[in-house]
Amino acid sequence: MTEHLVDVIGYQPIQQAILACVLCGVSCSLLSVFVVLMKMPLIGVSMSHAAFAGAVLGMLLGVNPVLSGFIMCLLAAGVLGPLSDRTDMAPENVLGIMFSFLMGLAFLGMGILTRTKANALNLMWGSLLSLSGVDIAMLTFVTLLLALFVLFFFKEIRLVLLSRRLARASGVPERIIYYSLLFLTGAVVSSNLTTVGGLLIFALLVQPGATALQLTYNLKHFFIISAASGVGACLLGLIVSYVLDLPSGAAVVLMATAIFAAAYIFSPKRNAARPKNMERIS
Protein backbone atom coordinates (compact mmCIF):
# COMPACT_ATOMS: atom_id res chain seq x y z
CA MET A 1 0.00 0.00 0.00
CA THR A 2 2.64 2.53 1.04
CA GLU A 3 4.82 1.42 -1.90
CA HIS A 4 1.90 2.08 -4.16
CA LEU A 5 1.46 5.54 -2.68
CA VAL A 6 5.15 6.31 -3.15
CA ASP A 7 4.87 5.22 -6.79
CA VAL A 8 1.86 7.43 -7.28
CA ILE A 9 3.68 10.47 -5.95
CA GLY A 10 6.06 10.15 -8.90
CA TYR A 11 3.29 11.04 -11.38
CA GLN A 12 3.23 14.60 -12.53
CA PRO A 13 -0.54 15.20 -12.20
CA ILE A 14 -0.37 13.88 -8.64
CA GLN A 15 2.54 16.16 -7.84
CA GLN A 16 0.52 19.03 -9.21
CA ALA A 17 -2.45 18.02 -7.08
CA ILE A 18 -0.24 17.92 -3.99
CA LEU A 19 1.12 21.38 -4.76
CA ALA A 20 -2.45 22.67 -5.27
CA CYS A 21 -3.43 21.06 -1.98
CA VAL A 22 -0.69 22.90 -0.11
CA LEU A 23 -1.49 26.22 -1.79
CA CYS A 24 -5.20 25.83 -1.22
CA GLY A 25 -4.61 24.85 2.40
CA VAL A 26 -2.26 27.76 3.07
CA SER A 27 -4.35 30.44 1.35
CA CYS A 28 -7.69 29.40 2.79
CA SER A 29 -6.43 28.84 6.30
CA LEU A 30 -4.47 32.10 6.55
CA LEU A 31 -7.65 33.84 5.51
CA SER A 32 -9.70 31.83 7.98
CA VAL A 33 -7.80 33.56 10.79
CA PHE A 34 -9.46 36.82 9.76
CA VAL A 35 -12.81 35.22 9.07
CA VAL A 36 -12.91 33.64 12.52
CA LEU A 37 -11.46 36.54 14.53
CA MET A 38 -13.60 39.16 12.80
CA LYS A 39 -16.60 36.84 13.12
CA MET A 40 -17.64 37.02 9.48
CA PRO A 41 -18.10 33.36 8.49
CA LEU A 42 -20.62 34.36 5.82
CA ILE A 43 -17.92 36.09 3.81
CA GLY A 44 -16.73 32.77 2.40
CA VAL A 45 -20.16 31.79 1.12
CA SER A 46 -20.81 35.26 -0.18
CA MET A 47 -17.53 35.47 -2.05
CA SER A 48 -17.86 32.00 -3.54
CA HIS A 49 -21.28 32.93 -4.85
CA ALA A 50 -19.86 36.11 -6.30
CA ALA A 51 -17.19 34.03 -8.01
CA PHE A 52 -19.77 31.52 -9.15
CA ALA A 53 -22.09 34.19 -10.50
CA GLY A 54 -19.10 35.77 -12.24
CA ALA A 55 -18.08 32.47 -13.76
CA VAL A 56 -21.57 31.74 -15.07
CA LEU A 57 -21.74 35.26 -16.48
CA GLY A 58 -18.38 34.68 -18.12
CA MET A 59 -19.62 31.49 -19.77
CA LEU A 60 -22.67 33.35 -21.08
CA LEU A 61 -20.51 36.08 -22.54
CA GLY A 62 -17.81 33.74 -23.79
CA VAL A 63 -15.13 35.03 -21.39
CA ASN A 64 -12.83 32.75 -19.40
CA PRO A 65 -15.07 31.82 -16.41
CA VAL A 66 -12.19 31.79 -13.92
CA LEU A 67 -11.23 35.31 -14.94
CA SER A 68 -14.79 36.65 -14.80
CA GLY A 69 -15.29 34.92 -11.45
CA PHE A 70 -12.15 36.60 -10.18
CA ILE A 71 -13.33 40.02 -11.35
CA MET A 72 -16.78 39.52 -9.81
CA CYS A 73 -15.15 38.62 -6.48
CA LEU A 74 -13.06 41.76 -6.49
CA LEU A 75 -16.17 43.79 -7.32
CA ALA A 76 -18.04 42.19 -4.42
CA ALA A 77 -15.14 42.97 -2.09
CA GLY A 78 -15.03 46.52 -3.38
CA VAL A 79 -18.73 46.98 -2.61
CA LEU A 80 -18.81 45.19 0.74
CA GLY A 81 -16.38 47.38 2.68
CA PRO A 82 -17.69 50.84 1.79
CA LEU A 83 -21.31 49.65 1.96
CA SER A 84 -20.98 48.35 5.51
CA ASP A 85 -18.94 51.41 6.53
CA ARG A 86 -21.30 53.94 5.05
CA THR A 87 -24.69 52.52 5.93
CA ASP A 88 -23.85 51.64 9.54
CA MET A 89 -25.04 48.14 8.76
CA ALA A 90 -23.30 45.20 10.36
CA PRO A 91 -20.98 43.61 7.76
CA GLU A 92 -22.77 40.30 8.38
CA ASN A 93 -26.07 41.82 7.26
CA VAL A 94 -24.51 43.35 4.17
CA LEU A 95 -23.01 39.93 3.43
CA GLY A 96 -26.39 38.28 3.85
CA ILE A 97 -27.96 40.61 1.33
CA MET A 98 -25.10 40.30 -1.13
CA PHE A 99 -25.08 36.55 -0.74
CA SER A 100 -28.71 36.11 -1.71
CA PHE A 101 -28.44 38.65 -4.53
CA LEU A 102 -25.41 36.92 -6.04
CA MET A 103 -27.01 33.51 -5.64
CA GLY A 104 -30.03 34.78 -7.52
CA LEU A 105 -27.75 36.14 -10.22
CA ALA A 106 -25.90 32.84 -10.47
CA PHE A 107 -29.07 30.80 -10.77
CA LEU A 108 -30.49 33.22 -13.31
CA GLY A 109 -27.36 32.69 -15.37
CA MET A 110 -27.62 28.94 -14.94
CA GLY A 111 -31.17 29.07 -16.26
CA ILE A 112 -30.10 30.92 -19.40
CA LEU A 113 -27.01 28.78 -19.82
CA THR A 114 -28.15 25.71 -21.73
CA ARG A 115 -25.16 24.05 -23.27
CA THR A 116 -22.38 24.20 -20.74
CA LYS A 117 -24.12 23.72 -17.38
CA ALA A 118 -21.72 20.93 -16.47
CA ASN A 119 -18.74 23.28 -16.71
CA ALA A 120 -20.40 25.72 -14.35
CA LEU A 121 -21.30 22.97 -11.92
CA ASN A 122 -17.66 21.88 -11.85
CA LEU A 123 -16.90 25.18 -10.14
CA MET A 124 -19.25 24.17 -7.34
CA TRP A 125 -17.18 21.09 -6.53
CA GLY A 126 -13.75 21.84 -7.93
CA SER A 127 -11.22 19.10 -8.56
CA LEU A 128 -7.71 18.85 -7.21
CA LEU A 129 -6.78 16.32 -9.87
CA SER A 130 -7.58 18.24 -13.04
CA LEU A 131 -6.01 21.67 -12.65
CA SER A 132 -4.44 23.62 -15.47
CA GLY A 133 -1.09 25.38 -15.30
CA VAL A 134 -2.84 28.73 -15.27
CA ASP A 135 -4.97 27.67 -12.28
CA ILE A 136 -1.85 26.70 -10.35
CA ALA A 137 0.01 29.87 -11.30
CA MET A 138 -2.87 32.06 -10.17
CA LEU A 139 -3.23 30.14 -6.92
CA THR A 140 0.51 30.49 -6.25
CA PHE A 141 0.41 34.21 -6.90
CA VAL A 142 -2.59 34.84 -4.65
CA THR A 143 -1.19 32.66 -1.85
CA LEU A 144 2.13 34.52 -1.96
CA LEU A 145 0.36 37.86 -1.93
CA LEU A 146 -1.67 36.90 1.13
CA ALA A 147 1.36 35.51 2.97
CA LEU A 148 3.35 38.69 2.31
CA PHE A 149 0.43 40.81 3.43
CA VAL A 150 0.25 38.95 6.75
CA LEU A 151 4.02 39.12 7.18
CA PHE A 152 4.44 42.82 6.44
CA PHE A 153 1.36 44.18 8.19
CA PHE A 154 1.30 41.82 11.15
CA LYS A 155 1.21 44.46 13.87
CA GLU A 156 -1.43 46.53 12.06
CA ILE A 157 -3.51 43.43 11.42
CA ARG A 158 -3.46 42.55 15.12
CA LEU A 159 -4.91 45.92 16.07
CA VAL A 160 -7.47 45.97 13.25
CA LEU A 161 -8.66 42.53 14.36
CA LEU A 162 -9.01 43.80 17.93
CA SER A 163 -10.81 47.02 17.01
CA ARG A 164 -10.88 49.02 13.80
CA ARG A 165 -11.76 52.14 15.77
CA LEU A 166 -8.75 51.83 18.06
CA ALA A 167 -6.61 51.20 15.00
CA ARG A 168 -7.83 54.41 13.42
CA ALA A 169 -7.28 56.35 16.64
CA SER A 170 -3.69 55.06 16.70
CA GLY A 171 -2.92 56.39 13.24
CA VAL A 172 -3.04 52.98 11.54
CA PRO A 173 -4.48 53.06 8.00
CA GLU A 174 -7.15 50.61 9.09
CA ARG A 175 -9.36 51.14 6.08
CA ILE A 176 -6.59 50.15 3.71
CA ILE A 177 -5.82 47.06 5.80
CA TYR A 178 -9.49 46.07 6.07
CA TYR A 179 -10.31 46.64 2.41
CA SER A 180 -7.15 44.81 1.33
CA LEU A 181 -8.31 41.89 3.41
CA LEU A 182 -11.67 41.89 1.65
CA PHE A 183 -9.95 42.00 -1.76
CA LEU A 184 -7.62 39.17 -0.75
CA THR A 185 -10.64 37.16 0.37
CA GLY A 186 -12.13 37.62 -3.09
CA ALA A 187 -8.86 36.62 -4.72
CA VAL A 188 -8.37 33.53 -2.57
CA VAL A 189 -11.94 32.31 -2.97
CA SER A 190 -12.06 32.77 -6.73
CA SER A 191 -8.68 31.16 -7.33
CA ASN A 192 -9.77 28.17 -5.23
CA LEU A 193 -13.00 27.55 -7.19
CA THR A 194 -11.05 25.12 -9.32
CA THR A 195 -9.47 23.31 -6.34
CA VAL A 196 -12.12 22.68 -3.69
CA GLY A 197 -14.96 24.51 -5.41
CA GLY A 198 -17.47 27.14 -4.39
CA LEU A 199 -19.48 25.00 -2.00
CA LEU A 200 -16.71 23.52 0.09
CA ILE A 201 -14.42 26.52 0.34
CA PHE A 202 -16.69 27.82 3.08
CA ALA A 203 -15.47 24.99 5.31
CA LEU A 204 -11.81 25.78 4.74
CA LEU A 205 -12.40 29.45 5.47
CA VAL A 206 -13.73 28.67 8.94
CA GLN A 207 -12.40 25.34 10.23
CA PRO A 208 -8.63 26.03 10.36
CA GLY A 209 -9.10 29.36 12.13
CA ALA A 210 -11.60 27.81 14.53
CA THR A 211 -9.06 25.04 15.19
CA ALA A 212 -6.35 27.56 16.06
CA LEU A 213 -8.81 29.43 18.28
CA GLN A 214 -8.93 26.33 20.50
CA LEU A 215 -5.18 26.12 20.89
CA THR A 216 -3.34 29.42 21.29
CA TYR A 217 -3.38 33.01 22.60
CA ASN A 218 -0.44 33.96 20.40
CA LEU A 219 -1.43 35.49 17.07
CA LYS A 220 1.75 34.31 15.33
CA HIS A 221 1.12 30.74 16.45
CA PHE A 222 -2.51 31.25 15.49
CA PHE A 223 -1.55 31.81 11.84
CA ILE A 224 0.89 28.88 11.90
CA ILE A 225 -1.52 26.42 13.54
CA SER A 226 -4.29 27.49 11.20
CA ALA A 227 -2.08 27.02 8.13
CA ALA A 228 -0.80 23.67 9.37
CA SER A 229 -4.28 22.35 10.06
CA GLY A 230 -5.53 23.62 6.71
CA VAL A 231 -2.69 22.03 4.75
CA GLY A 232 -3.01 18.89 6.87
CA ALA A 233 -6.72 18.61 6.13
CA CYS A 234 -6.12 19.11 2.40
CA LEU A 235 -3.29 16.56 2.14
CA LEU A 236 -4.88 13.91 4.36
CA GLY A 237 -8.18 14.44 2.58
CA LEU A 238 -6.50 13.95 -0.79
CA ILE A 239 -4.77 10.75 0.34
CA VAL A 240 -7.96 9.31 1.85
CA SER A 241 -9.97 10.19 -1.23
CA TYR A 242 -7.35 8.56 -3.47
CA VAL A 243 -7.02 5.40 -1.39
CA LEU A 244 -10.73 4.88 -0.77
CA ASP A 245 -11.80 6.35 -4.12
CA LEU A 246 -13.99 9.09 -2.59
CA PRO A 247 -14.71 12.63 -3.83
CA SER A 248 -11.68 14.72 -2.85
CA GLY A 249 -13.55 17.86 -1.77
CA ALA A 250 -15.76 15.96 0.64
CA ALA A 251 -12.79 14.12 2.11
CA VAL A 252 -10.91 17.39 2.66
CA VAL A 253 -13.82 19.06 4.45
CA LEU A 254 -14.55 16.06 6.64
CA MET A 255 -10.87 15.91 7.52
CA ALA A 256 -10.86 19.60 8.48
CA THR A 257 -13.88 19.00 10.71
CA ALA A 258 -12.17 16.02 12.36
CA ILE A 259 -9.08 18.16 13.08
CA PHE A 260 -11.28 20.88 14.55
CA ALA A 261 -13.13 18.35 16.72
CA ALA A 262 -9.84 16.99 18.06
CA ALA A 263 -8.60 20.51 18.82
CA TYR A 264 -11.88 21.35 20.55
CA ILE A 265 -11.82 18.25 22.73
CA PHE A 266 -8.19 18.67 23.76
CA SER A 267 -8.26 22.48 23.88
CA PRO A 268 -6.11 23.71 26.77
CA LYS A 269 -7.79 27.11 26.48
CA ARG A 270 -11.30 25.80 26.82
CA ASN A 271 -10.35 23.56 29.72
CA ALA A 272 -8.53 26.37 31.50
CA ALA A 273 -11.19 29.00 30.89
CA ARG A 274 -14.01 26.93 32.31
CA PRO A 275 -15.49 28.83 35.27
CA LYS A 276 -14.40 27.39 38.59
CA ASN A 277 -17.86 27.09 40.13
CA MET A 278 -18.91 24.92 37.18
CA GLU A 279 -16.30 22.39 38.17
CA ARG A 280 -17.47 22.40 41.73
CA ILE A 281 -21.03 21.64 40.71
CA SER A 282 -20.21 18.83 38.33
Binding site: R158, R168, A169, G171, L213, N218
Partner: protein
Protein backbone atom coordinates in the same frame (compact mmCIF):
# COMPACT_ATOMS: atom_id res chain seq x y z
CA UNK B 1 -7.36 83.49 24.11
CA UNK B 2 -5.79 82.25 20.92
CA UNK B 3 -4.09 79.30 22.56
CA UNK B 4 -6.96 76.82 22.42
CA UNK B 5 -5.67 73.32 21.75
CA UNK B 6 -9.17 72.20 20.73
CA UNK B 7 -11.53 74.70 19.15
CA UNK B 8 -15.00 74.02 17.78
CA UNK B 9 -17.21 76.51 15.98
CA UNK B 10 -20.72 75.75 14.78
CA UNK B 11 -20.07 72.01 14.76
CA UNK B 12 -23.15 70.25 13.41
CA UNK B 13 -23.70 66.54 12.81
CA UNK B 14 -26.73 65.11 11.07
CA UNK B 15 -27.74 61.46 10.71
CA UNK B 16 -30.62 61.28 8.27
CA UNK B 17 -33.29 63.55 9.74
CA UNK B 18 -31.77 63.62 13.23
CA UNK B 19 -29.67 66.53 14.38
CA UNK B 20 -27.10 64.94 16.69
CA UNK B 21 -25.06 68.09 17.27
CA UNK B 22 -26.58 71.50 16.74
CA UNK B 23 -23.96 74.18 16.15
CA UNK B 24 -21.67 73.41 19.07
CA UNK B 25 -18.91 75.82 20.05
CA UNK B 26 -16.15 74.89 22.47
CA UNK B 27 -12.63 76.03 23.30
CA UNK B 28 -10.31 73.89 25.39
CA UNK B 29 -6.93 75.15 26.58
CA UNK B 30 -3.88 73.03 27.10
CA UNK B 31 -3.85 70.89 30.24
CA UNK B 32 -7.53 71.41 30.95
CA UNK B 33 -9.66 68.52 32.19
CA UNK B 34 -13.15 68.88 30.80
CA UNK B 35 -16.15 66.71 31.57
CA UNK B 36 -18.79 66.39 28.85
CA UNK B 37 -21.94 65.53 30.76
CA UNK B 38 -25.52 64.94 29.70
CA UNK B 39 -28.32 62.38 29.46
CA UNK B 40 -28.39 59.54 26.94
CA UNK B 41 -28.74 60.83 23.40
CA UNK B 42 -27.48 64.34 24.26
CA UNK B 43 -24.68 64.06 21.70
CA UNK B 44 -21.75 63.53 24.08
CA UNK B 45 -20.23 60.61 22.23
CA UNK B 46 -20.87 62.28 18.88
CA UNK B 47 -18.95 65.34 20.08
CA UNK B 48 -16.06 63.15 21.14
CA UNK B 49 -16.18 61.29 17.81
CA UNK B 50 -15.96 64.59 15.94
CA UNK B 51 -12.81 65.57 17.84
CA UNK B 52 -11.40 62.04 17.46
CA UNK B 53 -12.02 62.11 13.69
CA UNK B 54 -14.49 59.22 13.61
CA UNK B 55 -17.47 61.24 12.45
CA UNK B 56 -18.24 63.55 9.54
CA UNK B 57 -19.40 67.03 10.50
CA UNK B 58 -19.97 70.54 9.25
CA UNK B 59 -18.52 73.58 10.98
CA UNK B 60 -14.97 74.41 11.98
CA UNK B 61 -12.75 72.21 14.07
CA UNK B 62 -9.21 73.24 14.96
CA UNK B 63 -6.74 70.99 16.73
CA UNK B 64 -3.40 72.47 17.79
CA UNK B 65 -4.33 75.59 15.85
CA UNK B 66 -4.88 73.77 12.56
CA UNK B 67 -8.17 73.12 10.79
CA UNK B 68 -9.04 69.46 10.64
CA UNK B 69 -11.77 67.42 8.94
CA UNK B 70 -12.71 63.90 9.97
CA UNK B 71 -9.97 62.62 7.69
CA UNK B 72 -6.55 63.46 9.01
CA UNK B 73 -2.93 62.54 8.75
CA UNK B 74 -1.12 60.12 10.99
CA UNK B 75 0.72 62.83 12.91
CA UNK B 76 -2.47 64.52 14.06
CA UNK B 77 -4.08 61.20 14.95
CA UNK B 78 -1.08 60.28 17.08
CA UNK B 79 -1.53 63.43 19.14
CA UNK B 80 -5.14 62.55 19.96
CA UNK B 81 -5.48 59.47 22.19
CA UNK B 82 -8.75 57.62 22.59
CA UNK B 83 -10.14 55.42 25.35
CA UNK B 84 -13.41 53.74 24.35
CA UNK B 85 -16.24 52.41 26.46
CA UNK B 86 -15.56 48.96 27.82
CA UNK B 87 -14.58 46.89 24.79
CA UNK B 88 -15.97 43.38 24.47
CA UNK B 89 -13.15 40.98 23.73
CA UNK B 90 -13.76 37.30 23.03
CA UNK B 91 -12.16 35.30 25.89
CA UNK B 92 -10.33 33.20 23.31
CA UNK B 93 -9.02 36.16 21.28
CA UNK B 94 -5.29 35.72 20.67
CA UNK B 95 -3.81 38.81 22.31
CA UNK B 96 -2.13 39.21 25.71
CA UNK B 97 -2.67 42.26 27.91
CA UNK B 98 0.89 43.48 27.31
CA UNK B 99 0.50 43.04 23.54
CA UNK B 100 -2.73 45.01 23.67
CA UNK B 101 -1.00 47.85 25.53
CA UNK B 102 1.86 47.76 23.03
CA UNK B 103 -0.56 48.37 20.13
CA UNK B 104 -0.50 51.97 21.37
CA UNK B 105 3.01 52.29 19.93
CA UNK B 106 2.40 51.03 16.42
CA UNK B 107 1.03 54.22 14.94
CA UNK B 108 4.16 56.01 16.03
CA UNK B 109 6.36 53.26 14.58
CA UNK B 110 4.66 53.48 11.20
CA UNK B 111 4.43 50.72 8.62
CA UNK B 112 7.07 48.02 8.13
CA UNK B 113 8.70 48.46 11.56
CA UNK B 114 8.00 46.03 14.36
CA UNK B 115 8.00 47.00 18.01
CA UNK B 116 11.43 46.33 19.50
CA UNK B 117 13.03 46.30 22.92
CA UNK B 118 12.35 49.98 23.47
CA UNK B 119 8.60 49.57 22.93
CA UNK B 120 8.49 46.48 25.14
CA UNK B 121 10.28 48.32 27.94
CA UNK B 122 7.99 51.35 27.70
CA UNK B 123 4.99 49.03 27.74
CA UNK B 124 6.16 47.39 30.95
CA UNK B 125 6.99 50.77 32.48
CA UNK B 126 3.47 52.03 31.89
CA UNK B 127 1.93 48.81 33.12
CA UNK B 128 4.00 49.00 36.31
CA UNK B 129 3.06 52.63 36.80
CA UNK B 130 -0.60 51.61 36.57
CA UNK B 131 -0.01 48.74 38.98
CA UNK B 132 -0.98 46.13 36.42
CA UNK B 133 2.36 44.52 35.54
CA UNK B 134 1.10 41.22 36.93
CA UNK B 135 -1.51 41.11 34.15
CA UNK B 136 1.04 41.35 31.33
CA UNK B 137 0.92 37.70 30.28
CA UNK B 138 -2.83 37.23 30.72
CA UNK B 139 -5.08 37.01 27.64
CA UNK B 140 -6.95 40.31 27.21
CA UNK B 141 -10.36 38.66 26.84
CA UNK B 142 -10.03 37.03 30.24
CA UNK B 143 -9.38 40.20 32.21
CA UNK B 144 -12.14 41.78 34.27
CA UNK B 145 -13.87 44.89 32.97
CA UNK B 146 -11.78 47.21 35.13
CA UNK B 147 -8.55 45.53 34.10
CA UNK B 148 -9.50 45.82 30.44
CA UNK B 149 -10.22 49.54 30.88
CA UNK B 150 -6.81 49.99 32.47
CA UNK B 151 -5.29 48.27 29.45
CA UNK B 152 -7.17 50.71 27.19
CA UNK B 153 -5.90 53.61 29.24
CA UNK B 154 -2.33 52.30 29.19
CA UNK B 155 -2.36 51.80 25.42
CA UNK B 156 -3.64 55.34 24.93
CA UNK B 157 -0.87 56.72 27.18
CA UNK B 158 1.79 54.73 25.33
CA UNK B 159 0.75 56.58 22.18
CA UNK B 160 2.01 59.74 23.95
CA UNK B 161 -0.90 61.94 22.90
CA UNK B 162 -1.38 65.62 23.75
CA UNK B 163 -5.14 65.24 23.95
CA UNK B 164 -6.82 62.23 25.54
CA UNK B 165 -10.48 61.56 24.75
CA UNK B 166 -12.39 59.20 27.02
CA UNK B 167 -15.84 57.92 26.17
CA UNK B 168 -17.54 56.78 29.38
CA UNK B 169 -14.44 54.84 30.40
CA UNK B 170 -16.05 53.75 33.68
CA UNK B 171 -19.44 52.64 32.35
CA UNK B 172 -20.41 49.09 33.31
CA UNK B 173 -17.77 48.83 36.03
CA UNK B 174 -18.62 48.29 39.68
CA UNK B 175 -18.15 51.16 42.12
CA UNK B 176 -14.78 50.23 43.62
CA UNK B 177 -13.30 49.66 40.18
CA UNK B 178 -14.80 52.92 38.86
CA UNK B 179 -13.11 54.75 41.71
CA UNK B 180 -9.78 53.05 40.96
CA UNK B 181 -9.94 53.95 37.26
CA UNK B 182 -10.99 57.54 38.03
CA UNK B 183 -8.09 57.99 40.47
CA UNK B 184 -5.75 56.61 37.87
CA UNK B 185 -7.09 59.12 35.33
CA UNK B 186 -6.56 62.01 37.79
CA UNK B 187 -3.06 60.73 38.49
CA UNK B 188 -2.27 60.61 34.78
CA UNK B 189 -3.63 64.10 34.30
CA UNK B 190 -1.30 65.41 36.98
CA UNK B 191 1.79 63.60 35.77
CA UNK B 192 1.49 63.78 31.99
CA UNK B 193 1.06 67.08 30.21
CA UNK B 194 -2.35 66.12 28.89
CA UNK B 195 -5.57 67.82 27.87
CA UNK B 196 -8.44 65.55 28.86
CA UNK B 197 -12.00 65.27 27.63
CA UNK B 198 -14.15 62.90 29.60
CA UNK B 199 -17.66 61.90 28.53
CA UNK B 200 -20.05 60.64 31.19
CA UNK B 201 -23.64 60.69 32.36
CA UNK B 202 -22.76 59.82 35.94
CA UNK B 203 -22.10 63.08 37.82
CA UNK B 204 -21.43 61.28 41.10
CA UNK B 205 -18.49 59.49 39.56
CA UNK B 206 -16.23 62.25 38.28
CA UNK B 207 -12.44 62.27 38.50
CA UNK B 208 -11.21 64.53 41.32
CA UNK B 209 -9.08 66.71 39.04
CA UNK B 210 -11.85 67.51 36.54
CA UNK B 211 -12.46 71.23 36.88
CA UNK B 212 -14.69 72.20 34.02
CA UNK B 213 -18.01 70.83 32.84
CA UNK B 214 -19.79 71.13 29.52
CA UNK B 215 -23.40 70.09 29.82
CA UNK B 216 -25.07 68.90 26.63
CA UNK B 217 -28.73 68.42 25.87
CA UNK B 218 -30.29 67.53 22.52
CA UNK B 219 -27.08 68.37 20.71
CA UNK B 220 -26.71 71.81 22.28
CA UNK B 221 -24.47 73.21 24.98
CA UNK B 222 -26.61 74.35 27.88
CA UNK B 223 -23.80 75.07 30.32
CA UNK B 224 -20.05 75.54 30.09
CA UNK B 225 -18.05 76.48 33.15
CA UNK B 226 -16.77 75.53 36.55
CA UNK B 227 -17.74 72.03 37.60
CA UNK B 228 -19.15 73.15 40.96
CA UNK B 229 -21.38 75.70 39.30
CA UNK B 230 -22.60 73.04 36.91
CA UNK B 231 -23.54 70.83 39.81
CA UNK B 232 -26.58 72.78 40.90
CA UNK B 233 -29.86 71.05 41.51
CA UNK B 234 -31.66 73.46 39.22
CA UNK B 235 -29.34 73.00 36.23
CA UNK B 236 -29.13 69.25 36.55
CA UNK B 237 -32.88 68.81 37.07
CA UNK B 238 -33.50 70.72 33.88
CA UNK B 239 -30.85 68.74 32.01
CA UNK B 240 -32.00 65.31 33.08
CA UNK B 241 -35.68 66.27 33.29
CA UNK B 242 -35.90 64.67 36.67
CA UNK B 243 -35.98 66.36 40.14
CA UNK B 244 -32.40 66.29 41.44
CA UNK B 245 -30.82 67.87 44.50
CA UNK B 246 -27.21 68.42 45.42
CA UNK B 247 -25.53 68.32 48.81
CA UNK B 248 -21.95 68.80 49.97
CA UNK B 249 -20.06 66.30 52.03
CA UNK B 250 -16.34 66.11 52.84
CA UNK B 251 -15.71 68.99 50.49
CA UNK B 252 -17.31 67.19 47.57
CA UNK B 253 -20.63 67.85 45.91
CA UNK B 254 -23.02 64.98 45.38
CA UNK B 255 -26.26 64.62 43.49
CA UNK B 256 -29.22 62.81 44.98
CA UNK B 257 -32.65 61.89 43.68
CA UNK B 258 -35.78 60.21 45.00
Amino acid sequence: MDSYIIELEGITVRKGRDLLLDSIGLGVSRNEFVGVIGPNGAGKTTLLNVIAGFEKFTGRLSLFGRHESWKRDRKTRLRVGYVPQLLYVDPAFPILASEAVMTGSIGRLGLFRSPGRQEREKTMQIMEMMRMAHLAKRPLGQLSGGERQKVSLARAILQKPDILLMDEPTANLDIAVQKEVLDLISEIHKREDLTLLFVTHDFNMLPASMHRAVLLDHGRTIFDGDIDAAMSGETLSRLFQYPLETFDRNGKRFVSYD
